[in-house]
Symmetry: C2
Subunit: 342 residues, 2 copies
């Protein structure tokens, strides 16, 4: 058996789900993959940090987090700055789950850079580093003979990146269309059931789908950064969220919802990208889609992307009922794929 | 560069598309994968066989096939029996595209067995060997340090097998639901547009989707063998098509089509499998699905399967606009995946 130590950045819903998934899957990982994973360092924004080279269990971490004091689990002295903390963790993997920054991708980029430079693999659920530093971090990883993967950054644990990297050699992506933002999809659905925009937002906030400031979702930034990530990585053309032609869902009112219903259609925030003559055009726009479109039945927080490639005219990947567990699985899958291919 | 020779069994639409795809992708394969592929043997049911160790181009093969005489391309004496032919080809890969036999899986099983025993890898678009000899052929491959893969056997080139094998380590499949037979899906759609059952069948035959005897599709055998293949390989429980609770689409008449339309629903031939307490229940049955189901918008010859796994509650794979090219790509992807993982 090979034992690997993990430095976990962020201990929100995803970080907790990841710690629990590792324990739930421990027997399977040992039996099928001959590996054991152990979290030996956790850093949080405001609940303290811990390094414990004996390993930190999910239960202990959750309890300490609830008391606002992860530092109580630490057996080592903790560096003040994150670069020092990551280096001091001496882990094999960095698992990055800090909140996204749409404009800069920081501080996640710095975390990943520190890990790769210190000889760790880095896996991330954060879109920021993918759109703002994909090439830099991938080259840095190669230089250090390590890997940087980020399956969970788009569509949680659904294999949108790995299916092309691992399973579909030789396929060239020419474009895609999809629904990539769960929050707006849920908001529109609530409005279809008669809720006002504000009530829909309040509901989405109450179940943890919308943030306190929901503008990142509503104005299409989250969708745009996901489009940019897919284009950058899968189509090989660096694209920033600002370059995506972007309209959010603020203009969709009860009359428009009604108009769609009468026509047997639904409003959806549709993400698109196309490669034409070597140039990318990308957009995020509300569209009325008919029931004959695969986008029509993407309900609630589900998501779907349909790729057009030179060898498969239409390949769709659908994710339904995602949650923090799903994102956590994407992180674990990245780690196992790294170990598989070395 | 590594050069690999291919023995191709079957030169129907898929075999031809495969030969053309190899030539279309030759530059890419050389540049990105440092490999070259060459077809050095072709066997057909009734258009002769050829072995030519200098390589047979797609153009030459198609021309010779049209004249009903592949043997004119042969530079070697040709064995009468297929076991001898495959062995004499001295190829690195067997590519199997012979027609399916639902009940026995032959002669494809024998072709693949001969290839593996002679030290070749085998890739197949044929469902028969998968449901009737998966374990036997996989063990034989392991014994000979070769691989047996069959991505194109279900949903053409869409990565239903490879996504779990290559991209989703540690995921356990608990069940699935989908539309796996293109022909019946197209027939129902034609009936929705007002065609009679017989007219719909005639149309499907005219575009090459239905066979002269379309009962394999209409009575649900093709769907059942695909369900059996997915269960056998992905859920690890050997299942024969005969064990799938199967009803075809013969009972669906104009009144039922109308009834569904009034209810805002569509008839679909729905494939299902569930694992409960270690036991599999599997079915192929017509169902009226509502527009809120992802199955509703599966149009024409498209197909969709939604898996329920322990780590991803709903992961769907959608294929739209498939054709012989798509199946051919699945064969090539299998070959590249074999070379990647050795």
């Amino acid at each position: 058996m090979n034992q690997y130590d993990i430095c976990l950045i962020g201990f929100g819903n995803v970080g907790k789900a990841f710690a629990e998934l590792l324990e739930k899957k421990a027997d399977h990982l040992l039996k099928e993959h001959s590996v054991g994973f152990r979290i030996t360092a956790i850093a949080t924004g405001s609940h303290g940090n811990a390094i414990n080279l004996q390993g930190i269990t999910a239960t202990a971490a959750i309890a300490a987090y609830q008391h606002g004091d992860l530092a109580s689990l630490s057996t080592e002295s903790i560096e003040d700055d994150m670069v020092g903390f990551i280096r001091a963790s001496r882990a094999d993997f960095l698992v990055e789950t800090s909140p996204v920054d749409y404009q800069t991708g920081q501080p996640a980029i710095m975390h990943i850079q520190s890990a790769l430079s210190a000889g760790m693999h880095a896996v991330s659920a954060n879109k920021g580093p993918v759109v703002h530093a994909y090439q830099f971090l991938t080259e840095l990883a190669e230089k250090n003979r390590r890997r940087f993967l980020f399956e969970s950054a788009v569509m949680d644990g659904a294999p949108v990146f790995s299916v092309f990297r691992e399973a579909l050699p030789g396929a060239k992506i020419l474009g895609f269309e999809g629904i990539l933002n769960s929050c707006t999809n849920l908001l529109i659905e609530k409005m279809e059931s008669g809720a006002s925009f504000d009530d829909a937002v309040a509901y989405a906030q109450s179940i943890g789908i919308a943030e306190t400031d929901p503008s990142g979702d509503i104005d299409g930034w989250d969708a745009a950064i996901k489009v940019a990530a897919l284009v950058t990585v899968l189509m090989g053309v660096p694209l920033k969220p600002q370059q995506v032609d972007r309209t959010g869902i603020r203009a969709i009112g009860p009359d428009m919802i009604e108009q769609a219903k009468v026509a047997g259609k639904r409003w959806k925030l549709v993400c698109k990208a196309e490669l034409n003559d070597g140039k990318i055009s990308a957009s995020v726009q509300p569209e009325m889609v008919p029931s004959t479109s695969p986008l029509f039945a993407v309900n609630g927080t589900s998501s779907l992307v349909v790729f057009r490639t030179d060898v498969l005219p239409g390949l769709g990947i659908l994710e339904s009922n995602p949650g923090p567990d799903t994102t956590a699985y994407g992180l674990l899958a990245d780690m196992l794929n790294i170990l598989k291919t070395g």
